[in-house]
Amino acid sequence: MAPPAQSQKSASPSQPSGKGEVSDVKMQLRQLAGSRSPGTDDAKRELFKKVISYMTIGIDVSSVFSEMVMCSATSDIVLKKMCYLYVGNYAKYNPDLALLTINFLQRDCKDEDPMIRGLALRSLCSLRVANLVEYLVGPLGTGLKDGNSYVRMVAAVGVLKLYHISASTCMDADFPAMLKHLMLNDKDAQVVANCLTSLQEIWGLEASASEEAARERETLLSKPVIYYFLNRIKEFSEWAQCIVLELVAKYVPSDSNEIFDVMNLLEDRLQHANGAVVLATIKMFLQLTLSMTDVHQQVYERIKAPLLTLVSSGSPEQSYAVLSHLHLLVMRAPFIFSSDYKHFYCQYNEPFYVKKLKLEMLTAVANESNTYDIVTELCEYAANVDIPMARESIRAVGKIALQQYDVNAIVDRLLQFLEMEKEHVTAETLVLVKDLLRKYPQWSHDCIAVVGNISSKNVQEPKAKAALIWMLGEYAQDMQDAPYILESLIENWDEEHSAEVRLHLLTAIMKCFLRRPPETQKALGAALAAGLADFHQDVHDRALFYYRLLKYNVTVAERVVDPPKQAVSVFADTQSSEIKDRIFDEFNSLSVVYQKPSYMFTDKEHRGPFAFSEELGNLSIDTELADNVVPAQRVEANDKDLLLSTSEKEDNHGASNNSSAYNAPSYDGSRMVGASQAQQDLVSLDQPPPANVPVSLAIDDLLGLGLPVVPSPAPSPPALKLNAKAVLDPNSFQQKWRQLPLAASQEISMNPQGVSALSSPQVLLRHMQGHSIHCIASGGQAPNFKFFFFAQKEDEPSTYLVECVINSSTCKAQLKIKADDQSTSQAFSALFESALSKFGLP
């Protein structure tokens, strides 16, 4: 039955005149409410449609609430659905009126037709009114046991809705247990999937408050549950498969055979046309093989083709999301993709954000054999009429040159750019030539000849101008005209708006003077005078500094301003390897597209119920500090064994890391801990060795914390000696934490004095470090503080991990201990306990 043609009017919601129309509708609804004449339903449909179209465009139609409810007494399912939609939208803001709907919704929940039962239950749970939850419990309980799978499906999600309205009602009715039962027994795969998603969310949110929920959350990752899902994987819809795959990615199989079994079972998921399924499978493969370097690399080879297929099928938006993931993998393991570089060539009609990713990939995969092709292609883009693209391409060429491949040819190309006489091209190229010369001074001869021909009048961008001026100063002796060009620039000092350029001008004229004094003296005088009169603080100070330096002693000035320089070997990377590893851990999420770990753009409660890693991320105060302290000096090598780690290449490799089976995407721990110690040294002058407690406490007092002093640490049980300089990086910690079983779990009481000092967690960290127990992450707010500690045996790389939750109002600490060597876990537990209980003791 097709609706009457008059629908035209209501269907195109041109802005109605406002209240008049709403009250008009209200009146008509009232007239229809009692009517039983034939055709009433059709008339109602038209009116309901009108109401919903107003609602959609944002007109408040809550005033017709009671009329809508009155009209809802109907057997027309289309009408019912519209009414449910309306009620769900407005109930939250009209709780009193919502009560009116309870009656008919409850009645519909008992309807013969399972469709109506399901719809009514869904609407009932969507009311979002806290004082109506009592009416939900009954229908939900019945719904979960309904004979029809549609109703059970709705009920499983309904439990979650109830939880969000009133968690206590949901828990008290024991719904999670019923969901768990359904999840493990229901015949219908979608019911099972809905139970899983609801339970994940509920237990995830409950876990911080309830020990039991935390345990239940762990059970979802237990072998029987995981295998149950894996065995049914083909029954699930493609979307439910994604959820199961996400879950499996967090599972830690007991041995490599199990890993291979799981991977073989899911291998064909890589051929799925739905990109979401493929990426979830890839994530799982990557996670499972983290500890197996060779297999991990094979996984990269295996997923390459499916990823490339996904990039080129589907909408541009979808290919962008996939390309972002490919980008991440290429950046981690460029050598695996070096023969696929042609896939990263840009197409002329692609949006800029796609081209940018591709340029970065082209830069990363460049090696001896493909650099010629890649640079040739990039040069085409550089000549492009699209200016942002041209700029990015030139930068990419420069980056490849800095990676040391085929520098000779690249320098030639860059110099050709300068001959193109396009302003933006010249500007970008000058900046690059400057960087190149800092790294390869041996090319100065060729470059200078070309740069010398550029008229400074054609260079306007501050960065480019600064680069040109730097070269004029640095190579003053090779460039005939250098003093005169600089002089003319100084004459126009007042027109130079960029302080950066003026600063460079001062330095360049100094260098020029030191090399060619007679020709430059006059210009130098003018520059210093202009600098001293400059309104910009830095420019003024630099001019004054040079002036005094020259007055003091010219030889000294030369040693300060223009000493012989060493070539820069590596330019610092912008993103720390720790951040990169964390993004990799969050593979198949928005983090990859944003190129930021989730804690940088999401509130904690939205980071997903299962993300231990994210919890760590949020808490990691120490590691953040460490990263700020150490400049990421990284050497981009291209060795195959670097696949798993963006940072293993650093030379100060922590020896204790090597034997651990799961140190996979290993971030170099020694560097980090070294840094955090350096950081502490800033505060406490000379920290550990462990016997040195009085010093650190004296410092604590200096900081005004008023802590009572502990005379000496208690003698630790001789059975277990801990390494005072233990090293562990956050990723290994996470891996281990997932992998190891719980060795001990207990609650201990703490000294109230110590607890009261917890407002600054650093105090506890230092105290524990005095006992050779190191903190890897900490966080929280009163009254709940959470700490993750680790310790290692003195003589072997056997590690203990501790999660410690301190409640400052009850002065209790909850401990969870995991250990590589289970046999000594009791000894360690005792040691930890004794250390913690001494915290704050006089």
Partner: protein, 451 residues
């Protein structure tokens, strides 16, 4: 899980707006639209499909000029949400027959009904037209297809710069046709998007075919179907580098680099006789996506010559040669080329007797545009363009112009040679003989000649 789903028109009006979780403010659609519209001050750069504003993630796709948007506070898999948005659009299209602003506005109640079943509390329940059918009670109000531009048997309607082609089938999968009977038919479309880059000397730098075998079934009772492809089809290019052209051409074999399949496809006998068997669900879906980098004969050769003729003038000669058989005709061909920014005047000279050709100089972005209604196979067309500049030329004019890019559609032709050898439908009765349509079409994705 997602928080909200909405569809905005080109002007930013809410056509449908569904809030699933209530944890994001109601004004999110306006916030989103303003951000997308003014992404960068100059308006030239497009907003990426995924961005974060004040802790809210906005994820969108453009379909037929409409914005399909999901918001979430969670760190979800982006491909899941983007795929979902595309699927929602496809399901709506299956129901309405035609997806555009008009049909959405007329059927928004039906769309709400669909949205309620597709997503519950932010979690995807089902996007299968087949499964959803039993939950949906609204009848679609069919938009008069006659008001749409006429579509040839295999024409593809290109919406904006969308790469995803739709088929010409604009029939709803649920609506009854006049007379009450449904016509038993099935469409199988082999759609190939090709990307070719020619160097300035005419040699092929890169080439790729991205293909889809798309199916749309109107068969009642869901019979099983077997689709047979070329016997000599091989998948994976072995240990060879994928750009190693030697030895692969001439043999006639179709070599796919990689492919993927719809979940309904059974591959039991695929390895033996290259047949796919499936029970097609209702609605339109890709049976198989594939990718080919094997060398193929590009359908068009583009020759261009740019010459400085006098001090203030230059001449551009564009020559297009169709390399496909004369029985095939390409349509809606557009050739574009950026000219030097300082170009002041452009004079076009079409070949004598040219029909259905149009030329234009876009002053705003200094591009020349040459469009041809159709090009018959094995023919050749030339355009001469005279450029005038205000001052004497400096530098090389070829660095200031180009590349030449081309878009086209070629029905009943596919460069890969992949074929549907036969389409077998399990017979219910002896007289059961539904219509089967197997159609081929080739489209330019990125077809570029450098100068």
């Amino acid at each position: 899980m997602i928080s909200q789903f909405f569809v905005l028109s080109q002007r930013g009006d809410n056509i449908v707006f569904r809030d699933y979780r209530g944890d994001i403010q109601k004004g999110s659609a306006e916030i989103f639209f303003r951000k997308v519209k003014f992404w960068k001050e100059d308006g030239k750069e497009e907003a990426p499909p995924v961005f974060n504003l004040d802790g809210v993630n906005y994820i969108h796709v453009k379909v037929v000029g409409l914005l399909f948007v999901a918001t979430t506070r969670n760190n979800l898999p982006p491909s899941l949400v983007l795929e979902l948005l595309q699927r929602v659009a496809r399901v709506i299209k299956d129901y309405l027959g035609v997806l555009n602003e008009d049909s959405l506005r007329k059927n928004f109640v039906l769309v709400y009904e669909l949205l309620d079943e597709v997503i519950d509390f932010g979690y995807v329940q089902s996007t299968s037209t087949e499964v959803l059918k039993s939950y949906i009670f609204n009848e679609p109000i069919v938009v008069d297809a006659g008001r749409l531009p006429s579509l040839g048997p295999a024409a593809l309607f290109m919406q904006g710069n969308k790469r995803m082609p739709g088929t010409a089938v604009t029939k709803s999968v649920v609506a009854q046709e006049t007379g009450g009977t449904k016509r038993e038919e099935i469409f199988v479309d082999v759609i190939e998007k090709i990307s070719v880059t020619f160097s300035s000397s005419g040699y092929i730098l890169t080439s790729e075919i991205d293909g889809t075998i798309q199916m749309k079934s109107y068969l009642s009772g869901n019979p099983e179907i077997r689709v047979a492809l070329n016997d000599d089809l091989t998948i994976g290019r072995g240990g060879r580098s994928i750009y190693d052209y030697s030895g692969s051409s001439g043999s006639g074999a179709v070599i796919l680099d990689d492919c993927n399949f719809h979940e309904s496809v059974h591959l039991d006998s695929f390895d033996v006789d290259r047949t796919l068997s499936l029970v097609p669900p209702d609605g339109e879906f890709p049976v198989m996506n594939y990718r080919i980098t094997q060398e193929f004969k590009p359908p068009f050769r583009i020759n261009n010559l740019v010459e400085e003729s006098e001090h203030f003038k230059a001449e551009v000669i564009l020559k297009i040669r169709a390399e496909f058989p004369s029985s095939v005709t390409a349509n809606t061909i557009v050739i574009e080329m950026p000219l030097p920014t300082y170009t002041t005047r452009v004079n076009f000279e079409l070949e004598p007797g040219a029909v259905g050709q149009r030329t234009d100089f876009k002053e705003s972005n200094k591009r020349l545009e040459w469009s041809l209604k159709k090009i018959v196979g094995e023919s050749e067309h030339t355009l001469r363009v005279k450029l005038t500049f205000p001052q004497e030329l400096h530098g090389n004019i070829t660095k200031e112009a180009g590349p030449v890019s081309m878009t086209f559609t070629i029905p009943m032709y596919n460069p890969s040679g992949l074929q549907v050898k036969y389409l077998q439908i399990a017979k219910k009765t002896k007289t059961y003989n539904p219509y089967r349509w197997v159609r081929y079409v080739t489209q330019a994705n990125s077809y570029v000649a450098r100068i």
